[in-house]
């Protein structure tokens, strides 16, 4: 993996994320959110986790982002009065980043260069999912079903 791609992708992703966090127009923010995840997916491809990257695109851009824009559409009439930017959040966020970055930089054990690894084929993931991780897989399935039903129940029009 080369650093040029790394730098480009990180700039793209972080810029998109920043836009998603700060843009005034909700719809634009949501689209930047999707873009962020596209960048993240590229990161995953860069890291050789192809499957996860594609799954990320599939799930987030294909489903979650669309959900979000739909929600925006459905709650459009409510224009939240964004007063001037609240600095508390910014301060806390910067503090968090500062401490995190500082503590990452002062741990030498993480400054390692990637060694060559066997390509992670979908087969291996599937094998792992179907052997050692079948129980979590089932649980996730149940969880997703529950979430589906729960979301349906929540948004169902209550009859007056």
């Amino acid at each position: 993996m080369n650093s040029a791609a790394f730098v480009l992708i990180s700039i793209l992703m972080l810029g998109a994320a920043l836009a998603a966090a700060t843009l005034r127009k909700l719809m634009h923010a949501a689209l930047c959110f999707a873009l962020t995840f596209a960048g993240l997916a590229m990161f995953f491809l860069l890291l050789g986790a192809e499957f996860v990257g594609l799954a990320l695109v599939f799930i987030y851009i294909g489903a979650v982002a669309v959900l979000i824009v739909f929600t925006i559409l459905l709650t459009r009439r409510d224009a939240v009065k964004e007063r001037r930017f609240s600095w508390v959040g910014a301060v806390i966020a910067v503090a968090a980043f500062g401490t995190l970055a500082w503590s990452i930089l002062r741990t030498e054990s993480v400054s390692v260069v990637a060694h060559r690894v066997p390509p992670l084929t979908v087969g291996r993931i599937g094998e792992a999912l179907m052997t050692g991780y079948v129980w979590p897989l089932q649980c996730t399935g149940v969880l997703l079903t529950a979430a589906l039903i729960g979301a349906l129940v929540l948004v169902m029009e209550e009859k007056q």
Binding site: F6, L14, A17, A20, A21, T22, L26, A29, A30, F33, T36, F37, F43, F44, L47, A49, F51, V52, L56, I59, Y60, A63, F70, T71, L74, T75, D78, V80, K81, F85, S86, W87, V88, A90, I92, A96, F97, L100, A101, I104, L105, V110, V112, V113, A114, L120, R124, I125, A128, L129, Y133, P136, T140, L143, L144, A147, G150, A151, L154, V155
Partner: protein
Amino acid sequence: MTPTLQSFLIVSAALFSIGLLAALSRRHAIFVLIGIELMLAAANLNFIAFWRFGPQQEAPVGVLIALFSIAISAAEAAVGLALVIAVYRHYRTTNVDQLDQLKG
């Protein structure tokens, strides 16, 4: 020079704090949700990065955990957005600062 684990961690930390920023500084519920999703994404990036740079064992544990966490956060997003819609129906607002009464 090729990027080290450190650089990936820094990037994910930045992503995380941007998510935190979104969750903290915006009043619209959807922004809060977006922020949370961003934070989760940062966590996933960490998982993948640690898997890639760490010792390779049989099962690609980091990748699997990332997959599960993606699935779970997708579920969370669905329910969260459904909640936003329901709340909007009930209170006619999505401003988390106005949704401050702890009873229905």
